[in-house]
Symmetry: D2
Subunit: 297 residues, 4 copies
Amino acid sequence: MKVAFLGLGAIGAPMARHLASRYTLSVWNRTAERAVEFARATGSRAAASPADAVRGATLAVTCLPTSREVEQLLEGPEGMLAAFDAGATLVDCTSGDPATSRRIAERLAARGVGFVDAPVSGGVSGAVKGILTIMCGGDESAMQRARPVLEAFGEKIVHCGPVGAGHAVKAVNQALLGIHIWSLSEGLVALEKAGVSTATALDVINASSGRSNTSMNLFPERVMTRAFPRTFRLALMDKDVRIAADFAREHGVPSPLLQLASELLREARRELGEEADHVETVKVLEAWAGVQVGQKA
Amino acid sequence: MKVAFLGLGAIGAPMARHLASRYTLSVWNRTAERAVEFARATGSRAAASPADAVRGATLAVTCLPTSREVEQLLEGPEGMLAAFDAGATLVDCTSGDPATSRRIAERLAARGVGFVDAPVSGGVSGAVKGILTIMCGGDESAMQRARPVLEAFGEKIVHCGPVGAGHAVKAVNQALLGIHIWSLSEGLVALEKAGVSTATALDVINASSGRSNTSMNLFPERVMTRAFPRTFRLALMDKDVRIAADFAREHGVPSPLLQLASELLREARRELGEEADHVETVKVLEAWAGVQVGQKA
Amino acid sequence: MKVAFLGLGAIGAPMARHLASRYTLSVWNRTAERAVEFARATGSRAAASPADAVRGATLAVTCLPTSREVEQLLEGPEGMLAAFDAGATLVDCTSGDPATSRRIAERLAARGVGFVDAPVSGGVSGAVKGILTIMCGGDESAMQRARPVLEAFGEKIVHCGPVGAGHAVKAVNQALLGIHIWSLSEGLVALEKAGVSTATALDVINASSGRSNTSMNLFPERVMTRAFPRTFRLALMDKDVRIAADFAREHGVPSPLLQLASELLREARRELGEEADHVETVKVLEAWAGVQVGQKA
Amino acid sequence: MKVAFLGLGAIGAPMARHLASRYTLSVWNRTAERAVEFARATGSRAAASPADAVRGATLAVTCLPTSREVEQLLEGPEGMLAAFDAGATLVDCTSGDPATSRRIAERLAARGVGFVDAPVSGGVSGAVKGILTIMCGGDESAMQRARPVLEAFGEKIVHCGPVGAGHAVKAVNQALLGIHIWSLSEGLVALEKAGVSTATALDVINASSGRSNTSMNLFPERVMTRAFPRTFRLALMDKDVRIAADFAREHGVPSPLLQLASELLREARRELGEEADHVETVKVLEAWAGVQVGQKA
């Protein structure tokens, strides 16, 4: 079976590596050298264009920064749209947005091509180990065609609903993450400023009802230690939170907290820059208040 | 050693019961019959007034709705303030506010009486079993006097900082709880409205970075089942969140998310009434959006 | 010169009437009877379809609920797009959104047809008298072609910038209106609840720095009198505010106040219904707080 | 008749000057030299302490930064409280807060002294010309005693309601001002960023429903010209907006927009510093978005 993979980024490359050992794989990447190098290392084929990559493939996987890039790869004489065989399936592992995905799915459907949105969570290490969680949206038949391929790099593959559902669930998860980070930052900064030991406060919260993955793992390991490893960029989290905010609005759901959080995280991103890690968000509140969490013993 | 306990409510009564078996206990309650009954059942003494309760006591414990009630019990000829022996200590287990507590502590200090704010978490069952978590604020010497008494009903007793620190930490925990409930509600309601299975979404979130005590325990057990047991009133959570919001402002800490959450939870309380459980907050978002979480299989 | 007019609603009909007396006019309306009646009364021609209306016209004017309807009129065998002569101009008086307008303009440009977005303000009476203010977006040459036609019903015709600029300026104006109404409501409701005469307060504000069109005209005439005439639907204002909110986000501009206002007005619309006037928004705050502005003498 | 004036700041001094020519005036100021100089220039008497100033006076006027300073002048052996004659009246022209004013009024009432809160608007020039607008709170009899004295520097003297009403009305006015500045900034910055002429947009808005004192006067004169004269400090406006926010909460009135605006203006103050003018707030949004309003012709 022929498979195509487009987008050999930090997380895409290890995902594609799992496919190279199982399928006849064509790869494409915007920076062509990466594809050439990857092909040489894995015995796959570097395609000259998106069209060249997907031509004759039963299934293509995309893993790009945003849905806009996916849509752009469809277009033009060298785009995927014209080159797909009828009956093929596009599986989009981008952390994209539901509205664009529905538009993409419609255009593909008009040519007899299936679509599944399938954003992943688990980071680079999850991709390397092939144990990603994958949130999928699409109809049952497309899911059936996508599942064996997704199992090459995913451990938990969840069908969430129609096209866009995968992106929506991922975006909501990221929005909760962003809100948890921002609100815990507000709370701890206020406690620090009042002379309360925030290490103690964090202990108490983690034994109480206000605890979260953010308070139990991220803050003790990254904020209290001031380690701030760069594992997931704030810029990407901000993008995802905005997707969730737009998604809620698109469906007419009141979401004042989510909308405000999206504004605040956008401002944090502006202040901290494109390379900052998502947990560094706390530094914005620290700067605004003029204290640093964890100083008060 | 003589101890006084004022405020035999749902959580105060089981706390006082632990003290009755260890100390010579005087109890007082606004509705006097409750105190009389409690005294009869436990072999303690029903006091005629706050002054009568604390006169001669080494340590007094208050457990009242808000700090305002504690302050009122200080006042007047039958109030605690005039009746305390110098050297006594007031331990306030109310979920109160830091600013009022500091005022109370100052007035007590002027008469040689110590003060510890010591709000609890763990609910009625934690009080009955004597395994509450207790967040304390006060100076070291007052803490030393309070600790043995607190150990009668507390398992984890944490000294968080100066007077008010206990109330502040508790309030921040509750604010996080409130924000987690509201934001998860926004997210799940939007997913439901978009035709996504929220049961599946909750599963995925609980395996991902956006998980919290709220998503892992409260929503699966109470929202997805529509059980909504009434274990902790929204009215009380709302009061606590407002305390956190005021606390952040008092210390000049920017807290847009917390301030907005406090407004939203106040409105939820108005819509759902004084008896609603805190997790029922999701119903406000459901009503606003015209869907019910968990309907889409 | 042949002109087409599509959308004979409350405000479109009187606008079209000004054109009927000056140009050879074809009119189209979704409910065909309206077009037939209008044509009979004004000596214009009722077109059978959007294509029929614009065929051979030098200039077409649309006045529809949202940009989505305008876009839909382009499509299909009976749509405007295929029927326009090269060199024609579409002038869209809809209170639409900049992003859709840019998309429409691109599609028209590909066929040699110009586009101007030209939303109006001044209400039905301004349309009848032909004294509307018209905010325009488009290139200079399209503006030159549009201006003589716009002068038939507009008094103040302002070229604000490129395609979408007219819609953007209108949306920002509406957003300010919505924010003024909501914030004045919050303030007056709080004063009323505190036992302050809101009539007096309004007088003072109107002599001070916080005054606005809303405080000087809308509230004295409509709220204090409880007259609440239905001149402009909240549903339409809400739609416009959401356009402004999306516009700010599209351009990466932080806009926390605007985003929150959009959420609040959406909720007000849900509570008050589709027919409520925009100034009735104050009733939501009154209901939430349990008072009515203007009761305290 | 003997009158006292405490607080000879930028606005207090010209107010006091109007009193010096009509009454036997004692003045007090924290920095004593100012009082001595003022007394020499106006033929009034420089008092040695607040007590000295009000002793024997029928009426005292305070004009201080916040209500907290007024409350502090009451205290101690050299404070006003002990020195006032029964039957005297304190008129507080501070832009203070209703809650503190009610507390002050109660303490004064216990000694037979009346109280009126009477914040002013009209700026230094209004004070010099004696044409201030004065918003008053207090009972009818205190108002009657205050009015003749207030007429020395006020043109429009309005009795708004019970004690605190003057402060509340002033605070709400300032909150509207702050919200108008912030929201117009969001809107114009977005338009500028989208390539729309903001000068034109401002013209259109000022002919439309979204106009306000801010859009008609402040922005054309100060922002579009980049003149930014320093006439009223952002720090003071921010203080007033926070008073309004606390006031709304104290009375249980939902006020999400006001609460968020207060957070944003506090952050603007932190970024721009204590000396910035209130209209400079627009610079925060400009910096966040990376554009300057008024650049696009």
